[in-house]
C-alpha cells in the first residue's frame, strides 16, 4: 500500500530537526509531490528524544512513519539512531551523525551510553553512512549548521537533483545565514564523494 518515500529524522530536542524537516518538505514539494511533514512541539522538545517525519509521493495519506517503514533514517545523534532503527524499512538507508549526547539517566549514572552503535548497525548489513556532522559544521563556521550538513549527507544518497535541496535551504534559512548554510550543505554532500 505504501507508495511514498519516507524520511524519518531523529535527534535530541534543540538540535534543529524541525528546520531540517521543513527544508526537506519544501524541497520535495517543489518537485510537485504531495508532501506531509509531522513535527514535535512542546514538552518533548526540552532535550528529549525527538522524531519528525517527512513523507512524499503521488498521494500521502498518513503523516506518520511506523516500524519498518522509513526509506531513510536521518539521525542527529548516535543513541537516537539506535533507538529509532526499528523504524527503518528492510533495505532502507541510515545517515547519521556520530555525535553523542548523554541522556539524563547516563549523566546521573543510572544507565550507560551503549558502545559500538555504529559497528552494531554495520553488522546488521544495513546501508549506513556516518560522519561527524557537528565537526563538519564547525569547520564551516558554526556548530548550529550541523542539521544542514546532515541534509547534505542525506541528499547525496537520494535520487533528487542537488539543486532542489540548495533552493530549499536558501528559502528556508534567514538571508544573513544563507551562504553559511549553503556551504554546510555542500560540505555534507561532498562527504559521500570523498
Amino acid at each position: 500500500m505504501n507508495q511514498t518515500t519516507n524520511i524519518m529524522i531523529s535527534g535530541v530536542g534543540g538540535q534543529g530537526s524541525l528546520l531540517a524537516s521543513r527544508i526537506l518538505g519544501n524541497a520535495v514539494m517543489s518537485l510537485g509531490f504531495d508532501v506531509k511533514v509531522s513535527e514535535v512541539h512542546g514538552m518533548s522538545q526540552r532535550g528529549g528524544s525527538v522524531v519528525t517525519y517527512v513523507k512524499y509521493g503521488k498521494v500521502v495519506a498518513s503523516p506518520v512513519i511506523c516500524k519498518g517503514e522509513a526509506d531513510f533514517l536521518l539521525s542527529f545523534e548516535q543513541l537516537e539512531c539506535a533507538r529509532w532503527l526499528p523504524y527503518l524499512k528492510i533495505g532502507g538507508t541510515v545517515v547519521t551523525s556520530t555525535q553523542k549526547i548523554n541522556p539524563m539517566p547516563v549523566i546521573i549514572g543510572a544507565a550507560e551510553y551503549p558502545t559500538g552503535i555504529i559497528e552494531s548497525i554495520e553488522q546488521k548489513k544495513i546501508k549506513l553512512f556516518h560522519a561527524d556532522a557537528l565537526g563538519v559544521a564547525k569547520l564551516c563556521g558554526t556548530d548550529k549548521a550541523a542539521n544542514v550538513v546532515l541534509i547534505g549527507m542525506l541528499a547525496a544518497h537520494m535520487d533528487i537533483d542537488k539543486k532542489v535541496f540548495l533552493n530549499a535551504v536558501e528559502t528556508s534559512v534567514p538571508v544573513k545565514f544563507k551562504e553559511l548554510n549553503l556551504a554546510a550543505f555542500e560540505a555534507g554532500y561532498q562527504l559521500k564523494v570523498n
Binding site: 521543513r22 498518513s62 506518520v64 539506535a82 533507538r83 541522556p103 549523566i107 549514572g109
Partner: protein, 577 residues
C-alpha cells in the same frame, strides 16, 4: 498559491480568509501556533488572555457585539472555559464564533488525554474535525458561515497530529466581514431562569435541525471501494485507515463529529458487509451507532488509549506487522530535561536539599519532578499548586513548615490568584514560591500579563506580581535570584518559620530568551576534580562524568554559575566567550 503549511497555521489562514476580526487565546500545546500565526495578520485584532475562560468570554463578547471571533486552547483549556462554553449554547452569537480545541492523544505535552468531543455533546454544540491542513483551512471558513446560519458557536476539534503536521494548502483572499449590528436583546443574552427556559427550547430545536442537516453535508462523505469492509472515521484516523486499507475498504469520513448524521450512518452500514468505527480515545461515534441500532465494531478491536497510526490499525484489525531490525543493545531512555542554565534548576536543588513536600504546577518547572532533582510531589492542573497546598496544610496531612507550592509567572496569572486569595482569607500559613522566568516557557515563549509585552510584542502595562500578592493580603513577600542558592535557602527557611502566608518570588528570566546575556562558560580543571559528583546533583545536561571526572560541554554551558557553587574543591571556573 500552494504552500506546505502546519495544521495550526492553516486554521489561522482560515480565520484570515473568513474575515475574522477578534482572536483571544491562552497558549497550550498543541494549539499555540494558531494564535501566534494570527498575530502576523494586521487585519485581525489578536491577544493573549490570562486564561482560557477569559479568552473565551472576550471572544464571545466580540461575537455578541457583531464581530467574527475566535479562541484557541488545548483540551484541558476547555475545562477552564467550560462555564461560558455551556452558556453560549443558550445565548447563541451574532457575529460568527469558532473555538478551536486541540486534543493530545498519547499526551505528547499534556497531563491527560481527555476527548473534547464529550464537551460538544454535553454543551449541545456542533463540532467539526479536519483531517489535514487543507481541511483545517476549509473547515474553519465553513464554520463561520454555519455559525451565523444556525446562530451558534462552532467547535473545531484538532489533535496533535493534525495541528503539528504540515500538508499542502491553497491560499485565497480575505473576504472582509462587516460588523453585524448589535441590538440589545435581554431575552437572548441575559441568562436568568425565565429567559434560559425559553432558550433551552431553542438549543434542542437547533440541535435536531442540525442533526438532519448533517446528512446533507459535503464534509460528511461516503467513499465507496470494496464493500467487504466499511470504515467510519474522522480527523487523523481517516489518513491512517486510508494508508492501511486503500481501496480494500469503503469509508464514511465524518467532517462534523457532533451532531452525527444518522441517515448517512444507516446508509453506509447497509451498503457494506462489515463496519469498523476507527476513532482515537473514547468510543463516541461507536456508541452513537449502537444506540441507533447499527451493528458496528470498534473498541473491541482498537485501543482506548493513545494516538493511533497505520501500525495500530494494521496490527489490531489485520493482525499484520512490518518486519524491522533491532540492535542487541540496551538503549537508555531520553526524557525531557530542564535546559542548561534553566533558572528553575537552582530552586528545585534547594527544595530537594530542604526535603520539602512540593505542591507543583503546570509548566517547564514540572520537570523538577524528574531525577536527579525529583523535588515535586504533585502536578495536577493550572493553579492547583497553591489551592492544593492550602488543603494539604489545613487538614494537617502535610506540615506547613515542611511544604511549599511552586507556580510559574504565567500559571500564577492564569489560575494562581484565587488560590492565594483563599489562603489569606482562610487564615492560611503556607509558603508559595512564584518562579518568575518572565515568559510562558513550555509552550515556546509566549507573553503574559506579567511580562510587559503583548502578543504582538508591543510594550504594555506590566502586572507587578509583588503588588498583586500584597493586594491579596500577603504581608511576607520576598524576591530572590534562584541562582543565588544560599540566599534562597535562607529565605525559604525564614518563610516556613512564619505563622502567616509567605510568597517568595524567584526571579530570573528563561535562559532561552534572546536578551539574556550568555557571555561566559564554565569548565572543569580535571586535576582539581575529586570525583565527588556534587556538581551532578543539579541534573545539568551540560555536565557529564568521563573517566571519573566531571566534564562540562562548553557549547551547551550558559554560564549560570550553579555548578561552580556545588564544587567544594574549586575545580570549576568560568571563561569569557
Amino acid at each position: 498559491m500552494k504552500k506546505l503549511m502546519l495544521g495550526n497555521d492553516a486554521v489561522a489562514r482560515g480565520l484570515y480568509e473568513a474575515g475574522v476580526r477578534f482572536v483571544s487565546s491562552y497558549p497550550g500545546t498543541p494549539s499555540t501556533e494558531i494564535t501566534e500565526c494570527v498575530s502576523k495578520y494586521n487585519e485581525i485584532y489578536s491577544e493573549w488572555a490570562p486564561n482560557e475562560k477569559v479568552a473565551f468570554e472576550a471572544a464571545l463578547g466580540a461575537a455578541i457585539s457583531g464581530a467574527r471571533s475566535f479562541c484557541a486552547m488545548k483540551h484541558v483549556g476547555l475545562n477552564v472555559a467550560a462555564d461560558p462554553l455551556f452558556i453560549t449554547s443558550y445565548t447563541g452569537i451574532n457575529g460568527g464564533m469558532v473555538i478551536a480545541v486541540a486534543d493530545d492523544p498519547s499526551m505528547h505535552s499534556s497531563q491527560n488525554e481527555q476527548d473534547s468531543r464529550h464537551y460538544a455533546i454535553a454543551a449541545k454544540l456542533p463540532m467539526l474535525e479536519p483531517s489535514d491542513s487543507e481541511e483545517c483551512l476549509r473547515f474553519t471558513k465553513l464554520a463561520y458561515d454555519w455559525s451565523e446560519k444556525f446562530d451558534t458557536p462552532f467547535l473545531l476539534r484538532l489533535s496533535t497530529r493534525i495541528s503539528h503536521s504540515q500538508s499542502i494548502v491553497e491560499e485565497a483572499e480575505r473576504i472582509e466581514s462587516d460588523l453585524k449590528e448589535y441590538q440589545k436583546n435581554p431575552s437572548k443574552y441575559v441568562m436568568m431562569p425565565g429567559n434560559a427556559k425559553a432558550r433551552h427550547v431553542v438549543v434542542e430545536k437547533r440541535l435536531l435541525e442540525m442533526a438532519n442537516w448533517a446528512n446533507t453535508l459535503e464534509i460528511n462523505k461516503a467513499e465507496y471501494h470494496s464493500k467487504k469492509l466499511g470504515i467510519i472515521c474522522a480527523g487523523a484516523t481517516y489518513a491512517y485507515a486510508k494508508e492501511v486499507f486503500g481501496e480494500e475498504a469503503s469509508y464514511l469520513k465524518l467532517g462534523m463529529v457532533n451532531p452525527l448524521p444518522d441517515e448517512l450512518l444507516q446508509n453506509f452500514c447497509s451498503n457494506v458487509e462489515r463496519v469498523i468505527v476507527v476513532e482515537e480515545l473514547d468510543p463516541i461515534i461507536e456508541t452513537h451507532c449502537k444506540a441507533i441500532g447499527l451493528s458496528v465494531e470498534g473498541k473491541n478491536l482498537l485501543p482506548l488509549l493513545y494516538e493511533f497510526s497505520q501500525e495500530v490499525l494494521s496490527d489490531c484489525i489485520l493482525g499484520k506487522k512490518n518486519d524491522f531490525i533491532e540492535l542487541d543493545l540496551t538503549i537508555p531512555v531520553r526524557p525531557p530535561v530542564m535546559c542548561p542554565g534553566c533558572p528553575h534548576r537552582g530552586l528545585f536543588y534547594v527544595l530537594k536539599k530542604l526535603k520539602l513536600t512540593v505542591s507543583g504546577d503546570i509548566g517547564c518547572y514540572t520537570l523538577g519532578a524528574a531525577p536527579p532533582l525529583g523535588a515535586v510531589d504533585t502536578t495536577l492542573c493550572m493553579g492547583a499548586s497553591i489551592s492544593g497546598l492550602h488543603g494539604m496544610n489545613k487538614c494537617g496531612g502535610v506540615d506547613p513548615k515542611k511544604s511549599v507550592a511552586v507556580i510559574g509567572d504565567s500559571t500564577f496569572a492564569h489560575s494562581g490568584l484565587t488560590g492565594l486569595m483563599n489562603m489569606t482569607y482562610n487564615k492560611g500559613v503556607s509558603t508559595v514560591i512564584i518562579s518568575d522566568n518572565s515568559i510562558t516557557g513550555m509552550t515556546g515563549h509566549q507573553q503574559n500579563p506579567t511580562t510587559g509585552k503583548t502578543l504582538k510584542n508591543e510594550e504594555t502595562l506590566q502586572i507587578n506580581i509583588e503588588k498583586v500578592c500584597e493586594a491579596l493580603g500577603v504581608r511576607d513577600i520576598s524576591v530572590v535570584d534562584p541562582n543565588d542558592t544560599a540566599v534562597l535557602e535562607q529565605t525559604i527557611k525564614d518563610a516556613l518559620a512564619k505563622e502567616e502566608v509567605s510568597v517568595i518570588i524567584t526571579r530570573r528570566p528563561c535562559v532561552l530568551l534572546k536578551y539574556v546575556v550568555k557571555d561566559t562558560y564554565f569548565s572543569v580543571a580535571s586535576d582539581k576534580c575529586r570525583s565527588c559528583r556534587a556538581c551532578m546533583q543539579i541534573g545539568c545536561p551540560a555536565i557529564s562524568f568521563v573517566d571519573k571526572k566531571a566534564v562540562i560541554d562548553t557549547s551547551l554551558c550558559t554560564g549560570c554559575t550553579l555548578c561552580e557553587k556545588m564544587c567544594k574543591f574549586d575545580a570549576i571556573h568560568s571563561t569569557k566567550r
